[in-house]
């Protein structure tokens, strides 16, 4: 599909530049005054001098172009600045949040990759049969589930009604779990968000796998494999699956990007302390620096996912290799 050439590197650079610039412009174009976040709820009781001081302290008084240059400079230095709201180092906040988002996105991706590939393969193998069709219909239906609604239902049923899983957070707050207990605790908290994300990811993987398999199944070299006397299983696993995996991997990268972005909704529903919640809070609180930094992290994560797919592609498909 696309060997990693200079063109792609340009593409990544272009995306990066656009994202960073967008990142800078968007929050500033938004109406609203960030002052409230700097001084807390009592901003109305501050004198104008106090306000000016605060604005100056965070550099909001500089000309826009200066702010833009400063912004680029700090991005390049990986200095994401301080949050208006909590006055903390943003990189620190992000590093705190990132693992949680990664946990649920990667976790759900892993599960959905396995389940999706297996089901997709099964469906392609049984193409046109009843089991294929019901799976296919089921998957298209799953795709139409609103994610937040699914999350709400899961909380209603499994947390509130049944009390099996906690309904919020990533760990039991202030608990003293050690070792396995701690891991178990994390797992218990991650299960519902992961289930939600997984349910939403599976259909895509499934459909991609199924289509890729069908495409491969119809190709000439499969007939060659059969003509060699290869058994059905060998044809499926040795030839079809191996060829179908490249598009699936690409899809997984895209899906990762999507799930990562989708964490905004899931983490809001589950009060999960990840990046998605951070950006949502930052957007509603007009916390410019956090918003910018988080969006940037999202972009970089998506870029990395795509890059990984680009790098994996030639490994999976030798036609893409550089001679």
């Amino acid at each position: 599909m696309r060997p990693l050439g200079l063109r792609n590197i340009f593409r990544y650079l272009a995306v990066f530049v656009v994202a960073v610039s967008l990142n800078f412009m968007l929050p500033r174009l938004m109406p609203g005054n960030p002052l409230a976040l700097l001084a807390g709820v009592d901003v109305g009781l501050m004198t104008p001098a106090e306000r000016a001081e605060v604005i100056e302290a965070v550099g909001l008084d500089a000309p826009l172009i200066q702010q833009f240059i400063d912004y680029w400079w700090s991005v390049l230095r990986l200095d994401l600045g301080f949050s208006f709201r909590s006055e903390r180092q943003i990189s620190e906040m992000i590093m705190e949040r990132l693992p949680w988002t990664l946990l649920i996105t990667v976790g759900s991706l892993a599960v959905s990759a396995v389940v999706g590939i297996v089901l997709g393969g099964f469906s392609a193998w049984r193409r046109g049969k009843k089991s294929d069709l019901s799976l296919l219909t089921g998957m298209i239906s799953l795709q139409s589930l609103p994610s937040f609604w699914l999350g709400m239902l899961l909380i209603s049923v499994f947390s509130v009604q049944l009390g099996w899983f906690p309904s919020f957070g990533a760990v039991t707050p202030a608990s003293d779990f050690e070792g396995w207990g701690h891991i178990g605790d994390i797992a218990k908290h991650a299960i519902l968000p992961i289930v939600t994300l997984t349910v939403l990811s599976i259909p895509g993987v499934y459909l991609t796998m199924r289509y890729a398999m069908l495409e491969v199944l119809g190709s000439d070299f499969i007939r060659t494999a059969r003509a060699k006397g290869a058994s059905e299983a060998r044809v499926l696993f040795g030839h079809v699956a191996r060829n179908a995996i490249a598009p699936v991997v690409t899809f997984l990268a895209i899906r990762f990007a999507f799930a990562f972005g989708g964490s905004v909704i899931i983490e809001t529903v589950f009060s999960y302390p990840g990046l998605g919640r951070l950006i949502f809070e930052a957007v509603s609180g007009r916390d410019y620096p956090v918003m910018q930094a988080t969006f940037l992290v999202f972009t970089v994560a998506v870029l990395v996912a795509n890059l990984v797919a680009d790098l994996l592609y030639p490994i999976l498909d030798p036609r893409m290799r550089v001679r």
């Binding site: 609203g32 005054n33 709820v41 006055e87 309904s167 919020f168 760990v171 707050p173 302390p273």
Partner: protein, 552 residues
């Protein structure tokens, strides 16, 4: 419409429904041995929910007035402490006296208080704290001390604070608000604006010490066994940060937390109360919900229009429908009916027929028959701007829009980001910047109302005095009375002035006050039940966590 929700029953007792344990008069402060020996049982651990992180809780880094300040005060003490009725009582200062014209306050400091690190708390710390806040501005605390001209230590534990002008509310605004900080820790810190403070600098004198903090996750407070008012009734307080109310609510229902420091929204009150072992503590608070309009421009500059709007809006309906009864109907004179300064002669009236008559009489007539009145050729169609993140406000907007529509004023509800909404109503948080709205749903937090004489802030047309006059309201008579009120030292005169002003405001309608929502808090009574509802403040205070004997 007569909608009365189940929770209305609690209205019969407007102050509090919480059982306050023991008899407050029996035990005196300063006897730490009385409660400890008797209970060797399980440590009491209370897990509390808040929404939104408050950062490291010290006087320079906490974030919100509520519950941030309240959490701050778990670790620190004020010179005075509000009692259940919201009246300041002696605390770190055991005597407080003021001179006749209320410009000089003399205090003596208790001698048994000490810092968490064991250092005794002295009058020097008090003076240091006040000086420090004046010098190193924090916003809230330095503002509290705005009128202070001199602070002098007198004797071993006496301190005299002199004010430039009379300030009848100094005890409430400053003495019960400012945390006393340890001199030996803070004197070395030049720039508190730097984020130099972490848990290690959080040395206070309060009943709790913060021992652990995970950003956006939780705070852990452990009790201070050497607390000068007695050993706290709760051994450990874990404050858990939630993304939103719904998460907090889910957690309390599932037993994952024991109390929520967030107000329970009205629809949940009956539901939660019905669930065992959850209980609700409910009482009046001083937050307000109101309709603002730009009274500086037509047609709102016409008092008739404002009066008509006030008559057209059924505040009782809003209390019943939106708050399901868990609110007090707004007084058109601004002052909460639970306050001593309240003038009972002022009452909200709902009379759309009268409103229509007023408008007709003043020439606001629907000439083209589309159901919308015109003024100066323009239809009376306005945007009502509201804050989208507050669903109750959205509903209020929806309801009032319909009510105003019934008297021929067409309202389109526009819901926007909090920041956009603030920017429109209060650009740059400075009324000198003017206003960019027609009508808005607005509300003030409790402190604005806490001190009744500060009504001038809201209605005086001089921006220096009425710096919260967001509606651009101006009336000479109101200006005169409100200015006088600010410096009036005589309580009786002051009371009279406030009473008159309320009548005046009810007639002039600088804004339409809809309701004072009640505070309602849910807690798990099996874990800890002794919550104290402080009028206007709710249950989130250290008082709730102290044994009855140690409470003010």
């Amino acid at each position: 419409l007569t909608l009365v929700a189940a929770a209305c029953s609690s209205e019969s007792d407007p102050t509090t429904t919480t059982v306050t344990g023991g008899d407050p008069t029996t035990t005196l402060a300063g006897d730490p041995t009385t409660t400890t020996a008797a209970t060797p049982a399980e440590p009491v651990v209370v897990r509390a929910a808040i929404t939104g992180d408050e950062d490291t809780i010290n006087p320079y880094t906490y974030i919100s007035g509520f519950p941030g300040w309240n959490l701050l005060m778990m670790q620190y003490d004020t010179l005075m402490q509000l009692d259940a009725d919201g009246v300041p009582q002696p605390w770190l200062a055991d005597t407080i006296s003021a001179n006749g014209d209320l410009t000089e306050y003399t205090l003596t400091i208790v001698d048994n208080a000490s810092w968490h690190d064991g250092t005794p708390l002295t009058v020097d710390d008090v003076k240091f704290s006040l000086d420090y806040f004046i010098e190193k501005a924090t916003g809230r605390f330095s503002r509290d001390l705005r009128g202070v001209v001199a602070i002098a230590v007198s004797g071993d534990n006496g301190i005299v604070i002199s004010l430039a002008a009379p300030n009848p509310a100094f005890d409430l605004v400053a003495l019960a608000d400012i945390p006393i900080i340890p001199r030996h820790i803070w004197e070395g810190i030049d720039d508190p604006g730097e984020r130099a403070f972490d848990i290690s600098t959080n040395v206070g004198s309060g009943p709790f010490m913060m021992t652990e903090y995970e950003s956006d996750q939780f705070y852990r407070f452990v009790s201070n066994p050497d607390y000068f008012r007695g050993v706290p009734a709760v051994d450990e307080l874990v404050v858990i940060v939630f993304a939103d109310d719904a998460g907090a609510l889910a957690a309390i229902r599932s037993g994952e937390v024991d109390v929520s420091f967030e107000r329970v929204s009205p629809e949940q009150i009956a539901l939660l109360d019905a669930q065992d072992p959850l209980d609700i503590s409910q009482g009046p608070e001083f937050t307000t919900q109101m309709i603002n309009f730009d009274a500086s421009k037509a047609p709102f500059s016409d008092v008739v229009v404002r009066q008509a709007m006030s008559l057209a809006i059924d505040s009782q309906d809003i209390v019943d429908t939106v708050y399901l009864g868990a609110a007090t109907v707004g007084s058109p004179g601004w002052v909460h009916p639970g306050k001593p300064a309240y003038n009972p002669a002022v009452e909200a009236t709902f009379d759309p027929a009268a409103a229509n008559a007023l408008l007709e009489g003043a020439g606001y007539i629907d000439t083209d028959g589309d159901g919308i009145r015109e003024f100066g050729g323009e239809p009376m169609s306005f945007d009502m701007i509201t804050n989208s993140s507050d669903s109750l406000r959205l509903r209020i907007a929806e309801l009032t829009a319909a009510m105003l529509g019934d008297v021929g004023i067409e309202i389109t509800v526009v819901s926007v980001e909090t920041a956009t909404w603030e920017e429109a109503v209060w650009p740059g948080f400075d009324i000198n910047n003017g206003r960019n709205y027609d009508i808005a749903v607005w509300g003030w937090s409790a402190p604005v109302q806490a001190n009744t004489i500060r009504i001038a802030d809201l209605v005086n047309s001089d921006p220096g005095i009425g710096f919260l006059n967001l509606t651009g309201f101006s009336n000479a008579e109101v200006d005169a009375i409100s200015s006088q009120l600010l410096t009036e030292a005589d309580p009786a005169t002051s009371q009279q002035l406030i009473g008159d002003l309320q009548v005046l405001l009810a007639d002039q309608v600088p804004f339409v006050l809809l309701a004072y929502p009640d505070g309602a808090y849910v807690y798990n009574s099996e874990v800890y039940a002794d919550w104290e509802f402080i009028a206007g403040q709710g249950i989130v205070s250290k008082v709730s966590l102290l044994p009855a004997s140690a409470r003010p």
